[in-house]
Symmetry: C2
């Protein structure tokens, strides 16, 4: 690779002769690892023109660097970083600055102390990854996705996609959502009631910023999606957590004062509870009574392979009270970062303005590619194929769990991609997770989902979205063995 001439720079306050400055600049580039062995330098003519010095000065500097083995010249083609050049330290700190800024004081707000746990990025290396929310590369229709991207990258679309869209979305994606996705949930919406977001996370974040203030109260489910709790904590509203039961959020437990209720009625996160129709109606009535809004996170509704799902809460809403959050992260792939908000126009207008201020718009290429993938039917095929495979895996998993007598805390009436599990009371599933990793098994500890200081530590989530059917039995067996041998259950307890 050739090193671009623009990379070369003489510090305006450097000392020494020009020739020495050039030598030093190139040697430092090599020592800092920026210029690598075998890379070609610009010609002395170009370098001289770029730096605004005479060519002879550059030539003399290069010759000296050659003499000291930083550079080597190859006949007629110029100078290269020498194979014998001094070794750079492995991308070492460039001359450490004396940082005098007092960051404890300078930071206006902190965001890094949230509840959302780190998940292992190398999960695919574990043989038994009961990890949630990741793609199974075996299931994804990569060939057709690539075709759709190619089409979106074509000259015809390119102009539209490369432009600055300010605050607008891809009309073909919005139309497909309005015509073909939302009706599956019983929702009829206008394009102006839909906003494309960077995934469900971004949709929840936007809703929280538009609807909440420090004086307002948000109701959340307990347990709930930890990233949602981080979002609400950051918004500094009052948080009121309500314990869910087997039917999800109990409406009668709503506090007298509530401004926004965040709920996952189709498929409670993480317990998988499905809220019955009567309770949905009761929730809407109680929300109306309090003049509260409801943000409905309808994640994973596509994975209803056991029964057709109940229509969304939003479909029962005649007052504009429900704001609906949908996502393609689970049904297509998480790295796509595309989701959507559906709500009344005054709400969508503010969410759109905020989105424009924060990031303008999700990249046009991703939106158009998704629009092609959806409208050409690949999305429906993918969902059907995935649902079929998940149904099979779930059967294997339920049988294995039953065989080992492991307690299921919530399984989801319609399907889904995970089972919510309860270990004996004295088991800390965070410790269990650590011990299991050593045996190639990944589970998701439940504590981060719970609110407040006294979090139950014996719940965990087992997903079957990323583990092949054939590995489930052995994975569950290892889990059962570890539970048996753990604190309170085995002879060889560690403490």
């Amino acid at each position: 690779m050739a090193i671009p001439v623009e990379t070369f720079f003489l510090a305006p306050d450097a000392e020494g002769t020009l020739q020495a400055q050039i030598r030093q600049m190139i040697a430092q580039g090599i020592l800092s690892g920026r210029f690598r062995k075998g890379e070609k330098l610009p010609s002395s003519r170009r370098l001289a023109a770029h730096l605004g010095v005479s060519r002879i000065t550059v030539t003399l500097a290069l010759t000296e660097l050659q003499a000291s083995d930083y550079l080597e010249s190859r006949d007629r083609s110029g100078y290269y970083v020498s194979e014998n050049a001094p070794e750079p330290p492995a991308f070492a700190d460039p001359a450490p600055r004396r940082e005098t800024v007092d960051w404890a004081r300078a930071l206006g707000r902190r965001y890094s102390d949230g509840d959302t746990p780190e998940k292992p990025l190398d999960w695919a290396r574990y043989p038994y990854p009961f990890i949630y929310g990741q793609t199974d590369p075996q299931l994804f229709d990569h060939a057709n996705w690539r075709q759709c991207a190619l089409r979106a990258l074509g000259a015809r679309d390119f102009h539209a996609l490369s432009a600055d869209h300010y605050d607008r979305d891809d009309p073909s994606l919005v139309e497909f959502i309005a015509r073909h996705i939302l009706p599956r949930r019983g929702i009829l919406a206008q394009p102006s009631e839909i906003l494309i977001t960077m995934g469900a996370q971004n949709a929840l974040w936007l809703a929280a910023q538009v609807l909440l203030t420090q004086r307002r109260t948000a109701v959340i489910e307990n347990p709930c999606y930890h990233a949602l709790r981080d979002i609400l904590t950051q918004s500094r509203c009052h948080l009121h957590a309500i314990d869910v039961d087997r039917d999800g959020l109990p409406p009668e437990a709503l506090p007298r004062h509530a401004d926004v209720i965040f709920t996952t009625p189709s498929h409670q996160s993480p317990t998988n509870a499905t809220m019955p129709l009567d309770r949905r109606r009761a929730l809407l009535a109680r929300a109306a009574d309090r003049e509260a809004l409801i943000v409905e996170d309808d994640y994973e509704f596509e994975m209803a392979f056991l029964h057709p799902p109940l229509p969304a809460l939003k479909s029962l809403d005649t007052e504009g009270r429900v704001i609906y959050v949908g996502s393609f992260s689970k049904s297509v792939f998480p790295g796509l970062r595309l989701g959507y908000l559906v709500g009344s126009k005054p709400f969508i207008r503010e969410a759109r303005a905020l989105r424009a201020s924060v990031l303008r718009h999700p990249p046009g290429l991703m939106q158009r590619t998704a629009a092609y993938f959806l409208s050409l039917g690949h999305y429906d095929s993918l969902i059907r194929r995935t649902a079929r495979v998940f149904a099979g895996r779930r059967e294997v998993m339920e049988a294995a769990l039953a065989a080992h007598g492991l307690d299921i805390a919530g399984r989801g009436a319609f399907g889904g991609s995970s089972i919510w599990m309860q270990a004996p009371d004295d088991v800390d599933t965070t410790t269990l997770d650590t011990r299991l990793r050593a045996q190639g098994v990944l589970i998701e500890p439940g504590a981060p989902f719970f609110h407040g200081p006294d979090r139950p530590r014996n719940f965990y989530r087992l997903a079957y979205s990323s583990i092949p059917s054939g590995r489930i039995v052995e994975g569950i067996a290892r889990l059962a063995r570890e539970l048996d041998s753990g604190p309170g259950h085995g002879a060889d307890r560690p403490c």
Copy 2:
């Protein structure tokens, strides 16, 4: 196109017989425009299984819909929406809800009343678009961009890109920025001091959220980038605007108390002023004196075709006081939505956590495609080609402006893509813009860049980034003519 079976839904509280409900559901789908003429319905067998009703019920409903001309059957291949079906209204409002939510009360915060003006999305239809910040499709290297995207879409990269990255960036993109982009600005940074953002806008937004509170003071340049002012207004910090002069922000005008200074030293936005080295040092010293941080927006540094640019303010910073904002929106294309923040680790840690909460991460595909485009040298070729063309256009533009005696208020010592113009005092350039549009000329009125109630109305920006050289002379001629005939200058003044 076939209508997916999942789109069909019986409302749980619908009245009438099942057969009537099915009829009504399909008819409504057609009347609302969701099902379109010629689209194929699922087979009666699939529809029956999906709805959980008997096949004969479905068949009877479909037969009746055929009789009433909603559907037509084609031999052996099933039912289609009839070509004679009743016309849907043009995506009309679905049965208007009686919205009872009081949105004036329900919205916690408003974001839609910012200063950022709407720009015409159809600017490419204007023959004389002196519009700023849009791509010129003639200049962009579409073929190589597509190649890079194809490579990023390959099976090998796909797994990495489809995964949920939580809060991480593409390492190859970060490394290229550290090794090859930042050194051009005299900046040496570690990968851990770099955060990829959704463009410069997102970078400025993140910096504002991390560094400012309602009790802190942000200093901005006057005039400045209007979207930055929107971001700061939303953050509700105190705003202190300082008038820039021919050398940009004058450090001696800094208020005694300042927490964060937002500045564009290389290329003041929108006046194009370049801050001299002495003033940069003075600014750093005064910021240190006040323990203030500086956010340096180094937009458009690549377009330095007249002289090599001065090194960035960040390169003079030995204390960690400067946070640097870079972007590929101007140098690649705006729809890419990729930029970066460079700063001390404590700052980057908080900005990364906030980004994760707001949107997780910029899509992997965009990051990897950009990494290939940069590392294969296409970026450098693109910049050189663009700079050459811009240099030519600028020459034509300056000659045309001189020929008509139009006043240049700021032209940028190093290059850039626009010229900051001053019309006579009594000209309102917003009105001028409206009048010019009728003649196919697009200019950018200057008022939205200014702060406070008494905004000068006679400035405007003329960019040469999207107008071909051959059209500049005529475009400037029309502008000059309109200025001559406008209020205060012609016989035929409108009032």
